[in-house]
């Protein structure tokens, strides 16, 4: 089976010795929507640039549709749509001119430009120079650009940054639409809720290494952070009882009259019984599925602990 993207043993060290990526191995199948998550400086943008063939790996290789990224053919490049963190919009050209230019680069007719200007609410500002747009509008424009030529692979670096909540939801809907059209997507974002709602697979990068790779379910069960239970109670938990709870559960927080534990397949009934048996008056039990944010924090904190 051939992959859309194949990344094998990739290291990237910048001149000056800064290590951006270490031992990256990823294979991406057609139709996968991958969320690249990680703190600033984790290597997400570097990976995007390597995939676009505008940066060289120090070792290893990256292939898109079987072609090495740095020597990708025109045909392959024309099937990729991308948004980089540096938007690359021409500030003194108008919104319409920016789109016409990119349409020309991808041999797309002007009808398509009209269509997108209308659909994305850019019709009213079409004659405005980009430097007069709000940052949200600019981001909207930079998102339209890679869609003009109907690419089959999309590489989106922070597509939802600087968007208002409504526009953010629209982008999430758009990504889900692209997913239903079997497009392959890789995107980086700090909007973990958005990623959770769109991605079929999450890649967690930290200090240039992949810390986790899998679907939400796989990650949560692998890390044992599938659920979170918060118990509100009246009374005081004795030291012995607290010790027992710490021994049996992963305690996330223990405050005045609340205790939060997390894990995979936790028996909330058992926890409540334990508390009641020790004379604690349980007021309320709240069960929550773990979010990507919980998983992210859990992995990153664990990794930080390993290195500190």
């Amino acid at each position: 089976m051939s992959f859309v993207i194949e990344i094998n043993g990739v290291d990237k060290t910048y001149p000056g010795g800064k290590e951006a990526l270490r031992g990256i191995n990823i294979s991406v199948n057609e139709g996968e929507v991958i969320g690249l998550v990680g703190p600033n400086g984790a290597g997400k943008t570097t990976l995007m640039k390597l995939l676009l063939g505008v940066s060289n790996p120090t070792s290893g290789y990256l292939k898109v549709w079987g072609e090495t990224c740095t020597s990708m053919s025109k045909k392959s490049r024309s099937k990729i749509g991308f948004v980089l963190d540096q938007r690359g919009l021409y500030s003194d050209l108008t919104v319409e001119e920016n789109l016409i230019f990119w349409a020309k680069l991808y041999a797309v007719g002007s009808k398509k430009v009209e269509e997108y200007l209308k659909d994305w609410g850019l019709g009213d500002v079409r004659k405005q120079p980009v430097n007069q747009l709000s940052s949200g509008m600019m981001q909207r424009l930079s998102l339209v650009r890679p869609l003009l030529h109907d690419p089959t692979l999309l590489l989106l670096d922070e597509p939802t940054s600087q968007l208002d909540p409504v526009a953010r939801v629209n982008v999430i809907d758009l990504i889900n639409k692209l997913k239903s059209e079997n497009k392959t997507l890789i995107m980086t974002s700090h909007d973990l809720v958005g990623l959770e709602r769109t991605c079929t697979r999450i890649l967690l990068l930290q200090k240039g290494r992949i810390l986790a790779d899998g679907s939400m379910q796989e990650l949560s069960s692998r890390l044992g952070v599938g659920e979170r239970i918060t118990v509100r109670y009246r009374g005081e938990i004795s030291k012995d009882l607290l010790k027992k709870i710490y021994a049996d559960y992963r305690v996330q927080a223990a405050g005045a009259n609340t205790i939060t534990v997390s894990g995979d397949g936790i028996d909330s009934g058992k926890l409540v019984r334990t508390l009641v048996e020790h004379g604690i008056d349980v007021e309320n039990v709240e069960e929550q599925k773990q979010s990507l944010e919980d998983i992210y924090l859990s992995i990153v904190q664990k990794d930080e602990g390993k290195w500190n």
Binding site: T70, K74, R77, Q86, L93, K104
Partner: protein
């Protein structure tokens, strides 16, 4: 060809939109002839050498000004990485930018030449020779293209502006020293050789530059 056309279209629009660049171009077109002829800045000037000088000055100044604007603009907008990620090749990118600079410079030089042609014909009683017109309209502009390519390539490869500035000063220095000598027009054969040499050099620079990788340019 479409991608080269797209680059030319975009760059010319950017040049027109920049008021400072347009103002500088207008000053160059009218100021130099206005100073040179009435003040007799260059001695022993003839109709032919007058036309040659106008072409040389406007084209070299335009090459420098427009190349600076076109290439630095791309960098300052952080657009180089984006463009190079598209299907455009390095050759198309470089040729598109160089042609945009050339066309804008040629337009500016052409207006200056029309003004100078009329002025010289009226004040000196006869029109410039065919060789002078060919030199001004063909040979010098192609050398302008070569100069633009060199400045653009230096900027893209070395990034910083210092070296490009020095090169620009060198270019102006060459023109000025040429003016000081106040040479007569070269022979028709020399003009032909100069034209072919300029064209060949422009093609060679383009071919050499197209071997530079996208990775190198996106740095």
């Amino acid at each position: 060809m479409e991608l080269i056309g797209a680059m030319v279209w975009k760059d010319i629009r950017s040049l027109i939109r920049d008021k400072k660049v347009v103002l500088a171009a207008v000053i160059m077109v009218f100021l130099f002839p206005a100073i040179m002829f009435p003040t007799k800045l260059i001695k022993n000037i003839t109709v032919d050498t007058g036309l040659f000088l106008i072409a040389a000055v406007t084209m070299s100044a335009a090459s420098y000004l427009f190349t600076w604007k076109s290439f630095s603009y791309e960098k300052s907008e952080n657009a180089t990485t984006n463009i190079l990620s598209s299907p455009i090749t390095v050759m198309e990118f470089f040729l598109g930018k160089s042609l945009a600079v050339f066309l804008a410079g040629y337009f500016m030089s052409f207006i200056a030449l029309v003004v100078a042609y009329i002025y010289l014909t009226i004040t000196m009683g006869h029109s410039p020779s065919g060789a002078a017109v060919f030199l001004a309209l063909v040979t010098i502009p192609i050398w302008g293209l070569v100069a633009g390519e060199i400045v653009g390539a230096l900027f893209l490869l070395l990034g910083g502006f210092e070296i490009v500035r020095y090169f620009g000063l060198l270019l102006v220095g060459i023109v000025v020293s040429f003016l000081q000598g106040s040479p007569g027009l070269p022979s028709a054969l020399t003009i032909l050789i100069l034209t072919i040499a300029a064209f060949a050099l422009a093609v060679i620079i383009l071919l050499v530059f197209s071997r530079v990788s996208k990775v190198r340019l996106a740095r």
